[in-house]
């Protein structure tokens, strides 16, 4: 079982920030810097929308309504438009999630390779219900649309890492790898 699919470039740090009070994004040097850099890459301000949504998630652990409004303001977009784009992608967490955000593919290839069972197994081992944050703040498990690695079904994405050929039985193994040294939740 390979740990990281080579095609995946780290979009988010492996461990998401713990859920904490939502920080304003562009009021400090770091945020402004990220915005500037991103803006410089696109012909229109609008182009920086996806990277800024990702940045908000990286910074706050999830994509809050406040962050969406702030991004709308920074990019001269309407809040409704930003919400529309943000909610189109399942990869943006519109609710607070655990530090490990486990997305289990249940699309066709994964479905025929027991994707649903893998999903159930994750729920069971993390003691959560779909989309919920575990009590210790560590995990959130959701079903995902095709993760684009159908040859390795069932595919599970945890934050920026892909785990492939996962079966219901190997779920504890995956979890164990998330925080080496720590006992499984």
């Amino acid at each position: 079982m390979k740990k990281v699919h080579p095609a995946v470039v780290g979009a988010q740090p492996f461990q998401l920030a713990e859920h904490r009070p939502v920080e304003r994004l562009f009021e400090d040097a770091e945020g402004r810097d990220r915005l500037e850099k991103s803006l410089s890459r696109y012909p229109e301000k609008k182009g920086a929308l996806l990277p800024m949504l990702a940045y908000a998630q990286e910074r706050n652990g999830w994509l809050s309504p406040e962050a969406m409004e702030e991004i709308a303001e920074a990019l001269d977009l309407t809040p409704a438009y930003v919400r529309s784009v943000a909610t189109f992608y399942t990869m943006y967490a519109k609710r607070p999630v655990g530090r490990y955000w486990i997305q289990v593919c249940t699309c066709i290839s994964c479905h025929v390779n027991r994707g649903e069972e893998v999903f159930e197994s994750f729920l069971e081992h993390t003691g959560t219900r779909a989309g919920e944050v575990s009590e210790d703040g560590r995990y959130t498990v959701i079903e995902a649309e095709c993760l684009g690695a159908c040859g390795f079904a069932t595919v599970v994405q945890v934050n920026d890492r892909y785990f492939e050929n996962v079966t219901p039985e190997t779920v504890p193994e995956v979890l164990a790898q998330l925080e080496p040294g720590e006992p499984e939740a």
Partner: protein, 890 residues
């Protein structure tokens, strides 16, 4: 007009517009092609897949397929029918579980389409019904959104974006979960939505539906009572109540669109607080009286106050006919020119200034043509709040690639749509505009040919520009000169360019100069006498243009004919059979001052509320308290009516016949929709009754139509206007004779001035009368809320509008707020040299540092107690837009 081509439609050859879509051609030929996501006002989207037809044997969506010469179109082949049926079935299953018989009935297009294609409920069982129920969003007081009925046609989303320009809503989520939503984490009411209801009006299903409306028994077409946009409106009636409203599509002023006030603001008409009987003050208290008692008393007291002891204040909310009668009554019966109305407080400088430069004080263009401007320069107008439907024309112009320059001391909503936003200091308009003109002349961007052939006094004007060097302009306006120069170029290089302005220009001690600056700018660039250019003062109230036209002004008879001119006076003396005074009368403020320091002993106050609307309102209240005899004629017991000796209950706009003239000079019908409530009577009836009881003749009119005939006979610009001619859509004056088609834009060939030329006027910068100092360190400027109107006598009796905005807010910049230790929601006290007012604070960057702003809609916090009554020497308008104040926590 695009060329015509021939196509074959279900076998017959028909002619079609080459630019039309297949759907448009089919509908035009009365061939129903089911369609859900198409709306004639919107760009085609092609998302519902119901409008399938075959073109040359290929299946396409008709709504976004252009016709081509020789195309063979079939709308009814078995393949079309079958595929369409499938699409309808899928939609039905997702539309509240697929019942065809639903309570929405004919109101739901999907329902009608289902019947048309012969959908069968029994067949729907084959599909898996949706397993979700999304909550209804009922947060808005005027409409609800039920996602369960939504077919995701996107008409609402496109309406809000393409027409309203707000884009408050969008599709959220995706795939099966897609729905319509507003801003993140917010309910509809808390989003950017301005509650116009345009999306609801267009929603093809019952998903978005009006909350307070009932199905009317019938509809009556009339004109909106609120702002000067003057929208055509169909009011629905059930019994003797108004139960619905809908925009009139054929009316060029609004093309079917309405704003939140127009669409939902009619319920004040049936408010239980309406005045229903006359009241007479007896032993200090207002007591109910009969009409005879009240009218006889008024007639007796007015008879004793003839001449300059009497003054009438008419209203821009009355019809033309009523304003005409009130000024005729004042002049012919009371023997004085002391008649004025609230235009004194809003647009008197437009009349004074534009008459000087152009010879006519009205908006030069038509509202609709503004949408075709290549550049719009909106200075001192918060158009989307105060003139929402003209605001839509600005959006249209931008969508078509036009430039927008916004100049305003406050960062108004329009600023976010602007190519250039200039936040100049309140009251520095002359410096700003003259600075722009200097750049235009220096860079040779002016129009010498126009100046040469159409204007006069250019040299003197040009000399006066020298004073406005970069440094001076920068200092006065507080704006970097480079930005002002950029605005100058943008305006001069994109023609036609239209200037729009409102109270931000006029309500200053130099209001007339401000107006002259705008007309100088327009002439300089040859932007006058063209359809989508010109200078466009946006008139505030439904009939403020008309009230001026009717001569409810102390210096002119109807049609701006001067009272001092002997030949004019002779004409009116003959027509009215009375001797008329040759001296101009007193203006609004002078009338009230005339009580404390002058001859005024009796005031006839009709449809006006100086207790809240007049600058330095405390003085206005004192005057009303003191005057010997005050008659207030209104639909509610206003703050001013509390000072009255006699209160006469008037009928509302929906209870009488007449005409309003909107801001684009369009004279339009106002119709009796329901009978007057209680014993209220039309203002026309009341004025005529008073005159009659004073023994006067010339007030025996059988109808408003008859009054209009008299108006037309005496007012050249209204010469061709009759109620008959404006039955369906209005006519724009000048309309001198019965065959004249009306005038779409002014000054096409000449200016109505002696000599026919437009006049440039050299201008000198003058600062506001009162500037901040150590004791009163902040500037107070006044503004309007979209949800309220004037002193809110009507809008605050509309519960939904009250929900949307229920109190005064002192808008203050974060920098000032920090200094004063004020947070949003804190109670603050605002003090000026004239008084103090308390309200809650709203910390916002919309107000520039050093300037706070307030509306004047709320009697609990009467802002005009603070404002400065210092006036413009020409127009005598008080400086409501600038005064010095101090703010502290209350």
């Amino acid at each position: 007009m695009s060329p015509k081509i021939e196509i074959s439609l279900n076998g017959s050859t028909v002619e079609a517009d080459a630019s039309a879509t297949v759907l448009e051609v089919a509908l035009e030929h009365d061939l129903f092609v089911p369609h859900l996501c198409h709306h004639p006002d919107l760009e085609p989207a092609g998302v519902c897949r119901l409008c399938l037809v075959e073109v040359d044997g290929r299946m396409v969506t008709a709504c976004n397929t252009p016709v081509t010469a020789g195309a063979k179109i079939r709308t009814d082949t078995p393949t079309v029918q079958q595929t369409r049926l499938g699409a309808v079935e899928l939609l039905l299953v997702n539309h509240h579980g697929g019942t065809i018989d639903c309570e929405e009935g004919e109101a739901c297009d999907l329902n009608r389409i289902a019947r048309f294609v012969g959908a069968d409920e029994a067949r729907l069982g084959r599909y898996r019904p949706p397993d979700r129920t999304l909550p209804v969003d009922g947060s808005n007081p005027f409409f609800t959104f039920d996602p369960g009925l939504c077919v995701l046609c996107g008409i609402c989303v496109r309406t809000c974006d393409e027409i309203v320009g707000v884009a408050a809503i969008d599709f959220v989520k995706r795939g099966f979960d897609t729905t319509i939503g507003s801003a993140p984490g917010k309910q509809w009411i808390d989003s950017d939505c301005v509650s116009c209801g345009e999306c609801v009006e267009r929603c093809p299903t019952g998903s978005l539906s009006f909350t307070g409306f009932e199905t009317p028994e019938y509809e009556v077409t009339t004109t909106c009572t609120y702002c000067g946009c003057g929208c055509g409106i169909h009011l629905g009636v059930s019994g003797d109540r108004i139960v619905s409203a809908r925009g009139q599509r054929e009316n060029p002023s609004n093309e079917g669109r309405l704003c939140v006030k127009g669409r939902f603001g009619f319920t004040f008409v049936n408010s239980p607080e309406r005045l229903t009987t006359p009241l007479i003050r007896r032993n200090g208290a207002l007591e109910e009286a009969t009409w005879d008692e009240a009218l006889d008393l008024v007639a007796a007291r007015f008879s004793a106050a003839r001449g300059d002891a009497f003054a009438a204040i008419a209203s821009a909310k009355l019809t033309n006919e009523e304003n005409y009668l009130i000024q005729k009554f004042s002049r012919a019966v009371m023997g004085t020119n002391n008649v004025d109305h609230c235009a004194r407080l809003c647009h008197s400088p437009s009349v004074a200034g534009l008459v000087q430069s152009f010879g006519s004080g009205a908006m030069t263009s038509s509202s609709k043509d503004l949408g075709d401007a290549r550049c719009i320069f909106a200075i001192g107008t918060n158009t989307t709040a105060a003139h929402p439907i003209i605001g839509l024309q600005i959006m249209r112009s931008i969508r078509a690639g036009g430039r927008l320059i916004v100049a305003n001391p406050r960062e108004i909503e329009l600023a976010r749509h602007a190519d250039l936003f200039i936040q100049h200091r309140a009251g520095s308009d002359v410096a700003l505009l003259m600075g722009m003109m200097r750049v235009i002349v220096e860079e040779g961007l002016h129009d010498p040919e126009f100046i040469e052939s159409r204007c006069e006094n250019f040299e003197a004007f040009q000399e006066s520009l020298a004073e406005y060097d970069d440094a001076t302009v920068e200092e006065k306006t507080g704006v970097p000169f480079a930005k002002i120069a950029e605005a100058a170029r943008m305006y001069a290089e994109n023609s036609p360019a239209a200037i729009l302005y409102a109270m931000g220009i006029t309500q200053h001690t130099h209001g007339t100069d401000n107006v002259l600056a705008t007309s100088n700018l327009a002439m300089l660039t040859g932007n006058v006498g063209v359809p989508s250019g010109g200078v466009n003062p946006l008139r505030g109230q439904s009939n403020v243009q008309g009230a001026c036209d009717m001569g409810a002004l102390p210096n002119v008879y109807p049609g701006y004919q001067k009272v001092e001119l002997p030949e004019v006076r002779a004409k009116f003396e003959q027509a009215w059979g009375a001797d008329l005074d040759d001296a101009p009368g007193l203006t609004h403020l002078e009338i009230l001052r005339g009580v404390t320091a002058g001859p005024i002993r009796a005031i006839y106050l009709v449809g006006e509320n100086p207790a809240l609307s007049e600058a330095d309102a405390t003085h206005a209240r004192e005057a009303m308290e003191k005057v010997d005899f005050l008659v207030v004629q209104d639909i509610f017991l206003t703050e001013s009516a509390e000072y009255a000796d006699v209160v006469l209950p008037a009928a509302s706009f929906a209870e009488k016949d007449g005409t309003f003239t909107n801001t684009e000079r369009r004279v339009q019908r106002v119709r009796k929709v329901i009978p007057p409530v209680g014993e209220s009577r039309s203002d026309a009836w009341i004025t005529c009754e008073i005159a009659r009881r004073m023994g006067a003749s010339g007030f025996e009119f059988e109808s408003a139509e008859a009054v209009m005939e008299e108006i037309a006979s005496l007012t050249p610009s209204y010469g061709g206007i009759t109620h008959d001619r404006i039955d369906q859509v209005g006519l724009q004056w000048p309309c001198p004779d019965p065959s004249h088609p009306g005038t779409r834009y002014l000054h096409a060939e000449t200016f109505p001035r002696p000599g026919g030329r437009g006049r440039f006027v050299p201008l000198e910068y003058r600062p506001p009368d009162e500037e901040p100092d150590a004791e009163y360190p902040l500037v107070l400027t006044t503004e309007r809320s979209l949800y309220h109107y004037h002193t809110a006598t009507m809008t605050r009796r509309v519960p939904g509008l009250e929900t949307l905005r229920s109190e005064e807010l002192v808008e203050i910049h974060p920098r000032d707020a920090v200094e004063l230790q004020i947070a949003s929601g804190d109670r603050v006290r605002v003090t000026s040299r004239r008084g103090e007012v308390e309200a809650h604070a709203l910390v916002t960057e919309a107000s520039p540092p050093g300037t706070i702003s307030m509306t004047f809609h709320f009697h609990e916090s009467p802002t005009n107690v603070l404002t400065n009554a210092a006036w413009d020497p020409v127009a005598k308008i008080p400086e409501t837009k600038v005064c010095a104040v101090r703010v502290e926590r209350a």
